[in-house]
């Protein structure tokens, strides 16, 4: 167990866009996410909430400050190491599902697990099937990814984000493309991940109903955290 119960810690992160003129997007942002906590980030569009998420995801490295994931400071790490952290400790769910249409649903879910290669292919397959069963898309496992409906695809994407049992799952408008009913299903799944599996969730959303039902809501405005 880690020294603190913070899975994710952000210390004084500043970021500016430089093209065409320098515009500060994030100003001295500091926050933390605890183990098993379901946190949402809301704010007007352009307030920097997505930018913050991509810095936390380690995919965007052009910032000042420090991001600590599972007690490991990530600023200045090599791309190779950041990939490993993403693979092992972070799961992603985006607005768009990003499933690979060349592969079956099952293979899509297994892919990050095969990359991590901590378990055998057979174990990863069994775990993928369990996840698909939990998310009620087990019967679709052998279909190609592009044969599924939007809600099903998003559930498969969630299964993919969980295959390596990450510390934290990050979502960028995960329900943005879904209707009310499917949004509801996705929310329930997220809540179950937080309460039963003790995984942290950090979800950027502009859906206030969705945000209101999470453990904690961080509101951002013009690059600063207003309430947390």
């Amino acid at each position: 167990m880690s020294a603190t119960s913070n899975i994710l810690e952000v210390v004084k992160v500043n970021k500016s866009f430089h093209d065409p003129v320098t515009v500060p997007v994030l100003k001295d942002v500091s926050m933390a996410v605890k183990r098993g906590e379901f946190v949402s980030v809301t704010g007007k569009s352009g307030c920097g909430k997505s930018t913050l998420l991509y810095i936390l995801s380690t995919m965007d490295t052009d910032y000042e400050g420090q991001v600590i994931i599972d007690n490991e400071p990530t600023f200045g790490l090599t791309g190779e190491r950041l990939s490993q952290i993403r693979n092992e400790k972070i799961g992603f769910v985006f607005q768009f599902h990003y499933l690979l249409s060349e592969f079956s649903v099952l293979k899509n879910v297994m892919l990050p697990g095969l990359k991590l290669a901590k378990r055998s292919a057979a174990e990863i397959e069994a775990r993928a099937m369990d996840l698909l069963k939990d998310l009620q898309v087990k019967d679709q496992a052998l279909k190609m990814a592009n044969q599924l409906s939007g809600g099903q695809k998003q559930r498969v994407a969630i299964a993919r984000s969980m295959i390596n049992d990450p510390m934290i799952i990050m979502g960028d408008e995960p329900t943005g493309n879904l209707d009310k009913k499917n949004s509801e299903i996705v929310f329930d799944i997220f809540q179950k991940i937080a309460s039963e599996h003790k995984r942290s969730l950090l979800v950027v959303t502009h859906d206030n109903d969705f945000a209101a039902r999470t453990d904690r809501t961080i509101v951002m405005d013009d690059g600063r955290i207003v309430t947390s």
């Binding site: 995919m59 791309g79 190779e80 990939s83 490993q84 768009f96 990003y98 892919l111 993919r160």
Partner: protein, 247 residues
């Protein structure tokens, strides 16, 4: 020993005797012990060989009389060096096979240069084709590259995928090229090629030497590797944030 053309003209066969006249007018009866065919009709019509002792006697020269000594080497490339060495040590004139056949060598060198130039040009064209296809494919697969990177595949993993793809094209192309080349060689090998000057050659002469196959495959793989490397590098540098946020 008589050349085949000469023997045919004289209707001489093995065991019979022929009369030999030297340039100085000496005559001798010699028995035909064999008939040879060098493969070049003009040479076979005029050449004949006899034991060195017999010839020395025939020409009324001492047994130390030699006009030419032909030395055949296992490795032709050693000839110039060895020629110089022999000339220096024994004070004789030495002519190596490369100098003697310089004209022929130049001709075949020029032909080699032309065929390699055509080959290289074709490989460059094919290389650009592969480069273009892979480039287009990367644009098509930006989403896939972005999600692979987001889920923990590194830039070098992505590069490896695209390099592997181009190497698969290279290996498939190289192998089918080899099979095609071998088939063509077989067909050409069976096309009749009859000429009076070379009586032993019945079909087009074909060199099946593995050397050429190795050269062909090496260059095919090298071309596809280079053609794949640049698009692969580009794919490895794709920024997933730009793609995912752009939606």
């Amino acid at each position: 020993m008589l050349g085949k053309g000469l023997a045919d003209m004289m209707e001489a066969s093995i065991g019979e005797s022929v009369q030999v006249t030297t340039a100085t007018g000496e005559r001798a009866m010699l028995r035909v012990s064999g008939i040879f065919q060098s493969g070049i009709a003009d040479a076979d019509k005029v050449q004949c060989y006899a034991n060195i002792k017999t010839v020395q006697k025939l020409l009324a020269r001492p047994s130390s009389y030699y006009t030419d000594i032909n030395v055949k080497l296992h490795d032709l490339l050693e000839a110039p060096a060895m020629g110089q060495e022999l000339a220096r040590r024994f004070g004789v004139d030495a002519l190596d096979v490369q100098t003697a056949n310089a004209q022929f060598e130049t001709g075949s060198d020029v032909r080699n240069i032309i065929s390699y130039a055509v080959g290289v040009v074709l490989l460059i064209v094919a290389g650009f084709g592969i480069y273009n296809i892979l480039n287009m494919m990367i644009y098509e697969k930006l989403d896939a590259i972005a999600i692979l990177k987001a889920t923990g595949f590194s830039g070098s993993d992505v590069r490896r995928i695209f390099l592997l793809l181009s190497m698969i094209i290279g290996v498939a192309g190289g192998v089918s090229g080899l099979i095609g080349g071998f088939t063509l060689q077989n067909i050409i090998d069976n096309i009749p090629f009859v000429t009076a000057a070379l009586p032993t050659v019945k079909t087009f002469p074909i060199d099946y030497s593995p050397k050429y196959y190795i050269i062909a495959v090496t260059f095919a793989l090298l071309t596809t590797w280079v053609a794949g490397w640049f698009p692969a590098r580009k794919a490895s540098q794709v920024d997933p944030v730009e793609i995912i946020r752009g939606k």
